[in-house]
């Protein structure tokens, strides 16, 4: 399960140099690393780039070990894809580092930047319904995760979970998801009504103006190093 709540906690509670950098700089950092992965035809520069990112994450006080573990999730489908190519270990290695390097960069962005800051930047370019939809999704997600935890506890306590019965478990889980859906719509409608009463008119309070600052040297520098490694080391 994606630990959204933990990621949100890391993003909101940290105060290292990566946290202090601007969102625009970190998005540019991500763009450089994704470009490096797209351009790379050789696994070695990307392996070196992954090492650079690990070092930067550790130096910046990010939860680098957990981030590293999460980034390897991206390798699962890359391995499946590599098997379909039948290209041997070299190709498999290339696909795996192409998968985990941008994934690590993305995780560095999200564990150091609260989602509302990212959405604020998006809201400058996205239509209102999408920007508002993103924010509502994010807000409702945390309410649902809490409800899901309560539902899981309730279903166990009332004997609704039977390890041997797939049919019974599926039926109960389906009803749980149905209940979650109905309550999510009700909660989201109420939340949106409250926001409108308090003056929400479709735009974020914090506008995502692009501005760079002195602390941006770390993400911009790290992204440039990874990209240059791929361009120079062919």
């Amino acid at each position: 399960m994606i630990d959204v709540a933990r990621i949100d906690h890391w993003a909101a509670s940290g105060s290292g140099p990566f946290h202090r950098a601007s969102t625009a700089a970190k998005l540019l950092f991500l763009f450089f690393v994704v470009s490096a992965a797209v351009l790379s035809r050789n696994p070695y520069p990307l392996i070196a780039g992954y090492g650079v990112l690990l070092a930067v994450a550790a130096a910046a006080g990010l939860p680098w070990f957990r981030v590293m573990g999460l980034s390897w999730y991206a390798a699962l489908f890359a391995i499946l894809y590599a098997i379909s190519f039948r290209g041997g270990t070299w190709l498999a290695a290339l696909f795996i580092v192409k998968a985990i390097t941008p994934s690590f960069a993305m995780l560095m962005l999200i564990v150091s930047t609260p989602y509302p800051k990212i959405f604020a930047l998006f809201s400058a370019v996205l239509p209102e319904i999408l920007a508002a939809g993103l924010f509502m999704t994010y807000r409702t997600l945390f309410i649902l995760l809490d409800m899901m935890d309560s539902f899981a506890a309730a279903i166990r306590m009332r004997g609704g979970f039977s390890p041997g019965s797939l049919y019974k478990n599926s039926a109960n889980i389906s009803k749980g998801i149905g209940m979650l859906m109905v309550r999510a719509v009700e909660r989201a409608s109420r939340l949106y009504a409250v926001m409108v009463v308090r003056g929400y008119n479709g735009s974020m309070a914090e506008k995502g103006a692009v501005h760079f600052q002195r602390q941006d040297w770390l993400p911009l520098g790290a992204g440039t190093v990874v990209l240059m490694l791929v361009i120079v080391w062919k």
Binding site: A74, S84, F85, G133, L134, M136, G202
Partner: protein, 229 residues
């Protein structure tokens, strides 16, 4: 089929760029279809359904490495245009959680969005003839078969990319390796078919539950009120 877990840098540039362009067009068309809507009702609905999709996607069925995605439920509840936007939001959020690549957001949205559109259409065709549970379940299976074929098509298209072959670097991406879309298709269909049944059963039960508890969500009352569609 659920969204692709193909990370950045694996698919050829032409394939994902085309995906992003078609997605941008489809999002624009969906927004055009939703003009003049009642924002007070649709934005919370969009947020709620997208969030439930994300919660469902985060629950992995471990032995299969499969997760349900509820895209057909989204299509049934939101309609094709809003369902497509929910697919876009869910994919963008997933990418922001490091689950799936940034460059494949276009292709993933097209796959998930087409599930919402197809699921919606098929469900309302079947609903006139058979009970709600079976309408949703059959619509889900048919939709997932079609989108799985689309996924295999995307992978096949990515395998024959000439740029990838000619600029494969010193070792060459294809050097010494034999391309096998067939292997990929066999793996995806054999694992996916179990997932289709699970997804169909859960979708059928969820839609039946909503039909019994809050039928106005299925009746599309929220969509018709202002749009007149």
């Amino acid at each position: 089929m659920t969204h692709m877990h193909i990370p950045d840098g694996i698919l050829p540039v032409g394939v994902w760029l085309l995906g992003l362009m078609i997605m941008a067009f489809a999002v624009g068309f969906s927004l055009y279809r939703l003009r003049g809507m009642d924002m007070m009702k649709k934005i919370p609905l969009l947020g709620a359904v997208s969030a439930v999709m994300l919660v469902a996607m985060s629950l992995e069925i471990l032995p299969l490495a499969y997760h349900i995605n509820l895209s057909v439920v989204a299509g049934i509840l939101l309609g094709p245009a809003l369902g497509f936007l929910a697919a876009f939001i869910a994919n963008l959020m997933l990418a922001l959680m490091g689950h799936g690549g940034i460059t494949v957001i276009g292709l993933n949205t097209l796959l998930l969005g087409s599930e919402a559109i197809l699921g919606h259409t098929l469900f309302y065709v079947f609903k006139k003839r058979i009970p709600v549970f079976w309408s949703a379940a059959i619509a889900t299976v048919l939709t997932l078969i079609m989108t799985t074929l689309a996924l295999i098509g995307i992978v096949a298209a990515s395998h024959i990319d000439p740029e990838l072959v000619s600029h494969g670097g010193e070792h060459g991406l294809h050097q010494g390796g034999r391309v096998s879309v067939q292997t990929f298709a066999i793996m995806i269909v054999s694992l996916g078919s179990i997932g289709w049944i699970i997804e169909a059963a859960i979708t059928g039960a969820v839609v039946k539950f909503i039909f019994q508890v809050k039928p106005d969500l299925l009746a599309h009352a929220l969509h018709r009120e202002k749009d007149g569609r």
